[in-house]
Amino acid sequence: MNQWKNFSKGFIKENPVFVLLLGMCPTLGVTSSAINGLGMGLATTFVLLMSNIVVSLIKSQIPDKVRIPSFIVIIAAFVTVVQLVMQAYVPELYKSLGLFIPLIVVNCIVLGRAEAFASKNNLVTAAVDGLGIGLGFTFALVLLGGIRELLGSGKLFDIIIYSENYVTLLFVLAPGAFIVLGYLIAIINRIKKD
């Protein structure tokens, strides 16, 4: 497979959020601001990349019947690494993402890629796939977070764009996440058709 195609499919064609509709819990939960979306997306990208690499490397050593538990242990280990490193070096971001970092373990995108892709492909292809899907996820979260932050608190990446008196608070709350996500999915579907 063409590696560039393999990499870029994560952004529109197989975008985990807009097309595959995977990992909805962190998607809806953390995207109240663009910076939260970015942090969550990059953390997930790292986990995806590393778990895809490791799963691809050891795929022939894992007996079929215990492959899922093995994958989960590998993913959980990388998530814990991310959590410890964030806690140590970016405590501010860790504070705002807090609860959602451990939840990357159960993010179906990560296990889905390990099971459906990395365990059937070679190292380079799996790594490119992990990176592409991860950055596609990041792109989706930043887009969603940016729109919600702009409409809901009048800011973008914490920079004030317009006065707080004119914001629509709904968009930083849970229903706003569903509304924005719905419109984005519709737009992405339209783009995909062309």
């Binding site: 007996p63 242990v73 590998i74 280990a77 070096y89 914001v167 930083v172």
Partner: protein, 203 residues
Amino acid sequence: MAKRESTFINMVLTLFVVTFVAAAALGFVYDLTKDAIEAAKMKAQSEAIEKVLPEYDELGESFKIALSASEDSIEVFPAYSGDKLVGLAVKTFTNKGFSGFISVMAGIDNSGNLFGYEVLEHAETPGLGSKMNDWFRNTGKPAQNVIGKNPQSHRFEVTKDGGDIDAITASTITSRAFLDALTRAFEAYNNTNQQLETKKTSL
């Protein structure tokens, strides 16, 4: 390379090796980041203490006091300027927030008024309850400001409940919780202040 068979021994061995390597790697990373995590926590804490208290020379030994048997104890940091106690920083908390736990560092000066506060940890709704770190220190709006007040001069409850503090618009629950945390801080202050001053002079 052929796939390994799913025999019992293969499965046990594989799982053992995978979990063993994962555990070893995590232990290694934990060791590596342990000091940095501790330092980051201490830094956040001491910065908060500096923000909520009048200027001081040194911090005394912190101690914990329990207000009631059922609750976690509260950590208190006395601050001295020379031999004089200038205030107490109280790391107080509440479990009544809209999303549960809120932790607040409250600074109380030696005349018993709130000198400053800093929200350390919370999970309140962004854009609503999360405004509490700014809302209650707005000196332009005396009804919502808590700085310089104490529970004797003002009732630390939202106006809706008959208190003297205006709640955050559309975040009454967060406001109640925040004031609950402050009330707890003053309780801790009253319990410790006197014994502390005598402790320092007897040294």
